[in-house]
């Protein structure tokens, strides 16, 4: 079952934070003209922290703890500035919103492709 807008809002606004069914999305930057709430989804924003892929420090890959941090470079992009992603490259980005999911629900993130011509 997919949670509808009304149920999402009920869980966010009516259930206290320590309730198992409570849903938290913060900061909630919403206005009446461009609501972030759709019929059954919530629009999230990209935050300020990204991980960009980089070449390995060593000439080999070892799937251990140290390699996990040497595969990416952390980057901070302040609000209002931009980050250009090179063609065919994938980067990791954190959402601006902190999310706490209820114990009886899971979340699915889908990207919103925007084509610039």
């Amino acid at each position: 079952m997919v949670l509808c807008r009304k149920e999402i809002l009920r869980r966010m606004r009516e259930l206290p934070v320590d309730n198992d069914g409570n849903l938290v999305i913060t900061p909630l930057i919403d206005d009446k003209k461009n609501s972030i709430f759709d019929a059954d989804s919530v629009d999230l924003r990209l935050g300020c922290h990204f991980l960009l892929p980089k070449m390995l420090d060593q000439p080999f890959f070892s799937p251990d703890r140290s390699s996990s941090s040497s595969l990416h470079v952390p980057v901070h992009v302040p609000l209002g500035q931009f980050l250009v992603v090179p063609a065919h490259q994938t980067i990791l980005g954190a959402t601006l919103e902190f999310i706490k999911l209820p114990s009886d629900a899971s979340g699915v993130t889908q990207n919103r492709p925007m084509r610039v011509t």
């Binding site: 966010m12 606004r13 206290p16 934070v17 320590d18 938290v24 913060t26 900061p27 909630l28 930057i29 206005d31 952390p74 980057v75 901070h76 992009v77 302040p78 609000l79 500035q81 601006l96 902190f98 706490k100």
Partner: protein, 468 residues
């Protein structure tokens, strides 16, 4: 070629190469990292200065080859530039190290905003430096400003940003949140330095200065008063104590009891003995005296009442230190035969009330912040108890409430949270405590950042409404 021009050309080329490197270094740092606004401003100043120096050197050498009499003037200007660049050189690398991934940027942003609301500090900004020393420090900037003004007379395109302060953090504490509240004290030093050189003079600073004179007159014996060296020595001591007390009270006015707790944590890390708690040195008043002033200010501002129910060791330490009778305070100096023993008493009686008055007059009243804290505290603590970034569905909590509530929560409830999420066994592990402290700090920092974002959007919305 005129006599001396060859040597001057050599010197100019060395200087050219040096500033060329500095200019490129700053540009490279700005390209590869993100900085808070003040650091960006500082780098752009250095770049403009470097570019201006290169242009000026070329022009001056051309002029000197035509008019050999100018050689001496060019040499003098180059000496001034070299001295100024040496001052800047010390700041550039630590400023470059302090990019937004290595410092608590939301806290610095908040502190800058609060600083700008202080009387006489409009448009003031702080550049953060990451230093190798394990201490927080404000780099006095008056000399840089004076030199910058002089340099601007022959490099007109490089104007030093007005009201720019430099604050050093220990590099190991860079990403931390709670201990970095100590920067509010350093901001106090910046404010004091600015106010001391303000034109027209701030009347409350003048009061503090005249109370210093009265204090010296009463404390020093006649011989010491007549001896200019002894008098200057005693005056310097009083001025140092004045600044320290001012900075502590200034920090409390801006950020509340969280500053006192942060200072206790910091002193705990440095390690301080029982003897040191009552010891006045030539640079600092005793910890007991400082915390007595903290407590006094917290009580007057109603913060103490707002945190009355908090049972934390740090609060007890603060109360115990503040409770040490002032008759126990002692002045330790290498050379204490100048009749300086009564300096402490006179300082407490005459100068400290003037400092309190100065702080109250230049900072906004903390009462609204205390009331907001009282209202928001249980919600913030509840969020942290559930492992959630503090938030509110209606009115978002303000940053000072978030910081104080989170600090109180950290001091009182961290073990219980670890126990709740990780179990009793894990709660006994140091690594788990360290990790959860980090998490708590990150949630607090995120909440402060969210609050600032919402505030900024509100301002943009209000501006849009007004414009339309």
């Amino acid at each position: 070629m005129p006599d001396g021009l060859g040597a001057l050309l050599h010197d100019a080329a060395v200087l050219h190469r040096f500033v060329d490197f500095i200019e490129e270094y700053c540009k490279e740092q700005e390209r590869s990292q993100t900085y808070i606004d003040a650091s960006g401003l500082f780098f752009r100043y250095v770049e403009a200065l470097a570019s201006g120096i290169k242009q000026e050197l070329t022009k001056e050498i051309t002029r000197a080859s035509r008019f050999p009499k100018r050689l001496e003037a060019v040499r003098r200007n180059m000496l001034t530039l070299k001295y100024f660049l040496r001052l800047l050189h010390e700041l550039i690398k630590p400023a470059a190290d302090a990019h937004t991934l290595t410092i608590p940027a939301p806290l610095i942003d908040l502190a800058s905003q609060q600083l700008q609301r202080v009387d006489g500090m409009k448009n003031a900004q702080i550049v953060i430096l990451l230093a190798p020393e394990f201490m927080y420090f404000q780099r006095p900037h008056s000399e840089i400003k004076v030199e910058a003004r002089f340099v601007a007379s022959f490099i007109p395109n490089a104007l030093f940003p007005p009201k720019l302060g430099f604050i050093e953090l220990p590099y190991s504490q860079g990403p931390n949140f709670f201990t970095n509240l100590a920067i509010y004290h350093e901001i106090g030093h910046f404010v004091y330095e600015e106010l001391s050189h303000s034109n027209p003079r701030n009347c409350h600073i003048t009061d503090v200065e005249s109370s210093t004179m009265r204090c010296l007159k009463r404390a020093l014996n006649k011989e010491a008063t007549k001896d200019p060296e002894s008098y200057a020595f005693a005056k310097k001591i009083i001025e140092s104590w004045t600044q320290e007390i001012f900075c502590d009270l200034f920090a409390i006015r801006l950020v509340g009891p969280a500053f006192s707790f942060a200072l206790i944590e910091m002193l705990g890390m440095l390690g301080f003995s029982k003897k040191e708690t009552i010891r006045f040195s030539s640079s600092h008043p005793s910890s007991a005296c400082r915390f007595a002033e903290h407590l006094n200010m917290l009580r007057t501002d109603s913060w103490w009442e707002a945190i009355a129910d908090i049972k934390a060791d740090q609060k007890a330490i603060l109360e115990n230190l503040a409770g040490i009778p002032r008759t126990s305070y002692a002045l330790y100096l290498d050379d204490n035969d100048l009749g300086l023993h009564s300096l402490v008493t006179e300082f407490l009686d005459i100068v400290v009330p003037a400092i309190r008055n100065l702080v109250r007059n230049i900072t906004p009243s903390p009462r609204p912040a205390v009331n907001r804290f009282k209202k928001a505290r249980s919600n913030i603590e509840n969020c942290l108890w559930c492992g959630v970034v503090p938030y509110a569905t209606t009115n978002p909590p303000d940053p000072v409430s978030i910081i104080n509530a989170a600090f109180c929560f950290y001091l009182t409830s961290l073990p219980a949270v670890i126990d709740r999420f990780e179990g009793t066994e894990a709660a006994r592990k140091i690594e788990t405590h360290s990790l959860w402290t980090k998490r708590l700090e990150m949630w607090t920092m995120k909440s402060v950042e969210d609050s600032q974002i919402q505030e900024r959007l509100k301002d943009v919305g209000d501006k849009y409404k007004n414009d339309s």
